[in-house]
């Protein structure tokens, strides 16, 4: 009896989804808008804020706040902080390369 039940249950067909189901879900989810946002030049606002990034942002914000007099209520504050952080990273990553380059040149 139980094996019959299981067999018939597993033979019971899955329902066909209504026409346009997937498209309707995609529209409702807003994934296309998110994808468009991530492709746009203003993607810098979509930052993955890990604790390290947040700490660095806060530090950069403090420095910028002191230098420019801008505060968190100013519209450009966060963008400015993020740009500073990006520049700092680029600068930091360029130092070892320059250093080793310098070392090689010296040996010659």
């Amino acid at each position: 009896m139980r094996s019959d039940l299981k067999r018939i249950m597993s033979d019971l067909p899955y329902e066909k989804c209504p026409e346009g189901f997937a498209e309707s879900v995609i529209r409702r989810s807003g994934i296309r808008q998110q994808a468009a946002l991530q492709r746009s030049p203003s993607r810098t606002v979509q930052v993955n804020r890990s604790p390290a990034v947040v700490s660095a942002l806060l530090l950069a914000s403090l420095v910028i706040g002191n230098m420019t007099g801008l505060g968190p209520s100013d519209r450009n504050y966060e963008q400015l902080s993020f740009n500073t952080l990006t520049l700092s990273r680029q600068l930091a990553s360029s130092i070892p390369e320059a250093y080793f380059q310098y070392g090689r040149n010296e040996e010659k």
């Binding site: 997937a22 989810s29 991530q38």
Partner: protein, 181 residues
């Protein structure tokens, strides 16, 4: 498999429409069928199933591949959606309508006996209480493992087994009462 689940989740998280569409296409029939057999209403099931996939996208960052398969996580959302819906509908709608349960039985051309058996089974399923019906559907219809069902319902595997045993016995008696199968 979990690696693929994690890659899929990461792609969806990054706004990859194609990955999201693939996931919907892969699971839509099972999720919709589960919702339909739980609610017994075609339009409610469509709405609930759509909501499941919208939630998958909006909460994909909460999925942890270390804790379970993506499919288990998706069916957990489906279970919660149906449970909330049935709770809001009240006891009156607890048992779904037979007509909707029989919505897509095989086309004529299949052996008559099989169609009869499936119709009888759908009728008996409709007569089960919600908790029993969801267990039988998850195990025997969606073919989920006991461990997966335990994770979805947030109960121990042993409890799933004992409740499943009781649910099957109730289903069996409903079928025998109707002199079916």
């Amino acid at each position: 498999m979990r690696i693929m689940d994690r890659i899929t989740a990461d792609r969806i998280k990054s706004g990859d429409v194609e990955a999201y569409e693939d996931l919907i296409t892969h699971y839509q029939s099972r999720v919709f069928s589960y919702c339909l057999r739980m609610t017994g209403n075609f339009h409610d099931a469509e709405e609930l199933a759509q909501d499941v996939f919208v939630k998958v996208f909006r909460h994909i960052d909460q999925y942890d591949s270390g804790k379970g398969a993506l499919s288990t996580w998706i069916f957990r959302i489906a279970h919660n959606n149906c449970a909330n819906h049935l709770r809001n509908q009240g006891v009156r709608r607890d048992k779904p309508g037979l007509e909707e349960m029989l919505h897509s039985l095989p086309e004529p051309g299949d052996p008559y006996r099989r169609v009869d058996q499936q119709a009888d089974l759908a009728s008996a399923l409709a007569g089960l209480e919600t908790a029993d019906r969801e267990l039988v559907l998850m195990k025997d219809y969606l073919d989920l493992k006991v461990s997966e069902i335990a994770q979805i319902l947030d109960i121990p595997s042993g409890t799933v087994k004992s409740r499943l045993h009781t649910a099957r016995a109730r289903l069996k008696s409903l079928i025998l009462d109707g002199d079916q199968l």
